[in-house]
Symmetry: C2
Subunit: 394 residues, 2 copies
């Protein structure tokens, strides 16, 4: 049966690309996992979630097991709104949509904004899942480089001006992780934040701000783009995956009411009453500032262990970013092909993600790789760096 | 800010329609809920799911709280494959995709098959959520009437032949709930099942078989379309919502590998490790035939209570379907406008869903309404029917 004749015109171009997750390295047992962007196992509140689940079902019985019914769904929304306030984002309930993680939020926004004519700008490098999502909608993906101060807005402005001059289509939306970026760990400077919002206004585009790591700062919080946005151009994406547990699949969008209403039309998995209600029950008992402090301290310490080990063991051909928060450090290895190197690395007992998967043009990422300090323990991190340094040579 | 200039061309036509859930009647407290398509509270395994959740997190700790990791995800798939065998559907793991309920399954299939040029056939009346989903992709929705033997395949054939003769676009896909249909409760006869598959082959269309109610038979099981399909034309949609608990959001697609791979590209909420793992843990302890027997007996009894009460209290202007399974009975009230009647009914203390919401052309459904016997208790059902009969008059 020739199945291609049945598929929608809209998806035909996306079928050209690699299937999702093709980038995921298979990690042999015994490897130090510096590839995994998971939270540290010891920081996932397993017992608290277990108690929350028990308490919820004892108190509410079948309510959270129906399509609707548990008051905890509202309670979760109220909690998220309060949390947004701590990020200096002031929203009402109709400006919030709870999603199945940040990924669904990105996909829903793409669904309502992007068709095959749509130009979108992404950071180079960027989050590979976002790239995979956008490729499902359009081939018109433009890139702007990221440096140690995040997205280079001067380069962005040059590109926009050039495209305008040449009468080329201008982007309708830009996707960014401005704070503790995945994969580079870098943060957009305050000056560039202002510049980016100004460019959005002048060139009339929207901004998808992915703030999955924003609360995991080591020293001080960074203002969100959304909190600086005067024109309603920012669609903010939040997530509980990095600060509580990804397996609960809870993310959200904070944006103007008209966007939330439009996104809601296309959110066809309905709500997730059980997992959202368990989460709301857990959150009743959590002292959030203390919880965040604990995470921030732990990840700061692990980041220092990683960068200290890099300084000790890596040859001079290797340089890396110094993040102020988040999960990731980005390595540059002069002259390397990190895709080829991966096989040796996993045989030596350490995993990472090769740089090419974070670039639109895969030939660009050969000298880079992403290390995550979130999942592995401190001693493992040092051991992993030693093994990686041995493979890179000197 | 004029937001319409940013939205995708692909979604502009869907914005004309009512927002999702606009049909949902608000049900005042004290009403007998004959509107709700929920499982009976006493049949939702609350304690068992609570124990499963506790056991899972004690045994596996953080594994089911990460993106991947718990072996229970595979175990759920294995269980679903075994269950498919009981429906005479023989699939391998690569022919299965677990989704967030049947709704996400319907949406994903629509996503890969439908663009604005696509013709789709639905039953008239049909499941309103499916209608809402298809309207997000295309305005070319055709209908075929349902009678006491389900979708009228003779009418379908007439329409197809006529369209072919007139050189009109032919449907690429047909959506059906062949067994204990929502909203009518009717079941497609075996003869029509064969006829429908033959039409699919001759006129070259695919079939989405929504089998959410298929196991809730009162007397004997009905063969699925998928089990009769020789050409790989049927994409089967299953759900645990009606037989365990909708709040867990677990559904699936069983179809040829190429379809599953294509659907997977667009499933951007990732998996739901926590709720899928809790479900898998619960299923380890369940004697499924016993569980189904219990449900079948309970719903058969409630259905009889409802139809007996209808026979006792309804005037002669009212007739109804006699389902052999599922959740629903479909009423025809000669000369009524069931939308207008709803206000009186809820004031009298009973709720239902007016017929018009299940029709593409809303003027068609005025004389109909859907009653559900699933959620209310037996005494409540009788009381609800009395109240409704009082409102209808005689």
């Amino acid at each position: 049966m020739d199945y291609t004749k049945y598929v929608s015109q809209d998806i035909k171009s996306s079928l050209k690309h690699d299937p999702p997750g093709a980038w995921m390295p298979s990690v042999p047992a015994g490897c130090v996992r510096l590839s995994s962007g998971f939270p540290d196992a010891s920081l996932v509140p397993v017992d608290e979630l277990q108690q929350a689940s028990t308490r919820l079902l004892r108190e509410e019985r079948d309510l959270p097991l129906h399509y609707v019914g548990s008051p905890k769904i509202d309670q979760l929304q109220t909690w998220l709104i309060a949390r947004m306030k701590q990020r200096h984002i002031h929203i009402k309930q109709e400006e919030l949509l709870v999603t199945s993680g940040a990924c669904q939020a990105i996909d829903l926004i793409a669904r309502i904004l992007m068709d095959e004519e749509t130009c979108v700008v992404v950071e180079s490098p960027t989050y590979m899942e976002a790239l995979e999502i956008f490729r499902n909608y359009t081939d018109r993906i433009l890139t702007t480089p990221v440096d140690e101060n995040g997205l280079n807005t001067v380069e962005l402005e040059k590109m926009l001006a050039q495209r305008m001059l040449e009468n080329k289509p201008l982007p309708k939306v830009l996707y960014t992780i401005p704070t503790f970026q995945n994969p580079t760990g870098t943060t957009l400077s305050n000056e560039r934040r202002t510049h980016l919002l100004k460019l959005a206004s002048v060139y009339d585009f929207l901004i998808m701000e992915d703030d999955a790591y924003g609360e995991l700062y080591f020293n001080e919080p960074v203002p969100t783009l959304k909190s600086l946005d005067q024109e309603g151009r920012v669609l903010y994406i939040g997530s509980l995956s990095k600060v509580i547990a990804p397996g609960m699949r809870i993310g959200w969008v904070a944006a103007d009411k008209v966007w939330i209403q439009t996104l809601f039309r296309f959110k066809k998995d309905l709500d997730h009453p059980f997992s959202q209600s368990v989460m709301a029950t857990y959150l009743e008992t959590v002292n959030w500032p203390n919880h965040l402090n604990k995470l921030q301290g732990a990840y700061q310490s692990k980041c220092k262990v990683l960068t200290d080990a890099l300084a000790t063991y890596m040859p001079k051909t290797v340089s890396w970013t110094k993040p102020d928060g988040g999960y990731f450090v980005w390595l540059t290895i002069q002259g390397a092909d990190t895709s080829k190197l991966l096989d040796q690395a996993t045989r030596a007992g350490v995993s990472y993600i090769p740089g090419k998967y974070f670039f639109l043009e895969k030939e660009k990422g050969m000298e880079y790789l992403r290390l995550s300090f979130s999942a592995a323990g401190e001693e493992e991190i040092v051991e992993g760096v030693k093994r990686l340094a041995g493979v890179i040579g000197g």
